[in-house]
């Protein structure tokens, strides 16, 4: 899915610079716990989150996240925007809540990029 398709699916707004090169979003992951993101997300996914602080952008950098969607209209601070621009990760806000935003993307054909727990793993 392209960035434009993603934005359209969640009725989102981009608050960062438009990336120069096209961004390919291969899957999605929804989480508010950054350790969960670091543990479960696969590269080139969009991260949907209700958490809105600089650590979300840092986490995204470490985990090779393609784009971040903030649910329920959360507005990133200018610090976060500067950080995201530096790392060329687009930040998007959507008026939808977590369930609906994830659902819309899933319905639009975006697969889950969250790895499931192995049988021998405990949370």
């Amino acid at each position: 899915m392209t960035l434009d398709e993603l934005i359209q699916a969640v009725a989102g707004q981009v608050v960062t610079q438009r990336p120069q090169r096209p961004i390919e979003i291969r899957g999605g992951c929804g989480a508010d716990l950054m350790s969960d993101v670091l543990a479960a997300i696969q590269p080139h996914a969009v991260l949907l989150t209700g958490l809105c602080n600089p650590q979300v952008v840092r986490t995204a950098t470490m985990a090779d996240v393609a784009a971040i969607v903030f649910v329920r209209g959360k507005q990133p601070t200018s610090n976060m925007i500067a950080l995201a621009d530096e790392q060329t990760i687009p930040l998007i806000t959507t008026p939808y809540g977590m369930f609906e935003a994830c659902g819309r993307l899933y319905q639009a054909g975006l697969p889950s990029f969250e790895t499931r727990l192995m049988n021998d793993e405990v949370a």
């Binding site: 120069q20 350790s35 696969q42 989150t49 958490l51 650590q55």
Partner: protein, 334 residues
């Protein structure tokens, strides 16, 4: 240039946020950087048919008319057609050229050229240097290709940095070469939390690590960095020792220390405060995540003395850091 960024209008902060790199470049790049410097010129005494031959031969559609080092006019294919239709093929250039020529200066930014093109609808602009002499010619095509070239150079600059760094271990000969990176982490500095990890990840990529290796190191060191920020009394030091065959990382602090190291490593166990949990951390997953990303993790701690976390990643033999692929695949991505 988007219609919303009319250069004549005062820019607001809101606009500034949406400026693209291309738009920035239109201000940074000078007309002399993108113009065609080798210009075919004609003299006012030349005949229309001669100019027609020149245009055909050089595949151009216009040329400045120059006399005694000064540009006195511009002649275009349209002017030639006008002359030919009247059967005046042997007329002089001076009779059909445009003398009221709009020009730009070579030291002006590219955006100035765009403005003139938009305002006047001319196809080409003669470019004059600071002394008013003809320096080149500018078309919209020159602007497009010049901007693309600059974007490409932006991209290449990073590639070059990567190339140079990736040769470090080949170029410097010793019995055992290692590169050590050190970062001082302040306690409770959530604002800069992750800066060190981010720098480390970038360094590894520049040194030639593949995306997966950089990601494994990045995630492990980020969790360790956040632990220093969240839990320590005086902060701590992150050290990364990079060698062709392995990467050793450590996070060391001087307190308060962990009373029960075994319990601390149990998934879900955490002593983090509510404030830390609101930041999305402190779920007791950090050490588990680190363990998943590295080949060997050791946690030693003494209450009152401090904690030492060491992490090691082996790189495949002989492959070294250049193009090294992970020696065990990260379970989280399989």
């Amino acid at each position: 240039m988007g219609a919303t960024h009319d250069p004549r209008r005062v820019m607001t902060d809101q606009d500034a946020k949406t400026i693209s790199r291309v738009e920035e470049l239109s201000y940074e790049l000078k007309i002399r950087d993108v113009m065609t410097a080798h210009v075919h010129t004609v003299t006012p005494q030349m005949q229309i048919v001669e100019v027609l031959d020149l245009f055909r031969e050089k595949r151009i559609s216009g040329a400045p008319v120059v006399e005694a080092d000064q540009m006195i006019g511009l002649i275009s294919l349209e002017d030639l057609i006008r002359a030919m239709r009247r059967g005046n093929g042997h007329a002089r250039v001076s009779e059909y050229m445009t003398t009221d020529v709009i020009t730009v200066r070579d030291f002006e930014p590219v955006v100035k050229g765009l403005e003139v093109f938009a305002r006047t609808r001319v196809g080409r602009l003669p470019v004059l240097d600071e002394h008013g002499r003809l320096a080149g010619i500018l078309t919209k095509g020159d602007i497009t290709s010049g901007t693309l070239r600059a974007l490409h150079e932006d991209f290449q600059a990073e590639e070059v940095r990567r190339y140079r760094a990736s040769h470090l271990f080949e170029d410097i000969v010793s019995d055992r070469t290692s590169l050590i990176l050190r970062y001082w982490i302040k306690p409770r500095d959530f604002q800069h939390g992750g800066q060190a990890s981010s720098d480390i990840k970038r360094a590894l990529l520049r040194l030639g690590a593949d995306a997966q290796l950089a990601r494994r190191c990045g995630i492990a060191i980020y969790e360790a960095e956040m632990n220093l920020i969240i839990h320590t009394t005086n902060g701590g030091i992150i050290k990364v020792e990079i060698e062709p065959g392995q990467i050793k990382m450590s996070a060391v602090d001087d307190g308060p220390g962990i009373p029960d190291v075994e319990l601390a490593q149990r998934p879900g166990w955490s002593t983090a405060t509510e404030e830390v949990r609101e930041m999305g951390f402190g779920a007791g997953m950090g050490l588990k995540n680190i363990e998943r990303c590295v080949d060997k993790m050791t946690l030693e701690s003494t209450v009152g003395a401090g904690t030492r976390l060491t992490m090691k990643i082996h790189l495949q033999p002989r492959q070294g850091l250049n193009g090294a692929s992970a020696s065990h695949s990260e379970r989280a991505t399989t």
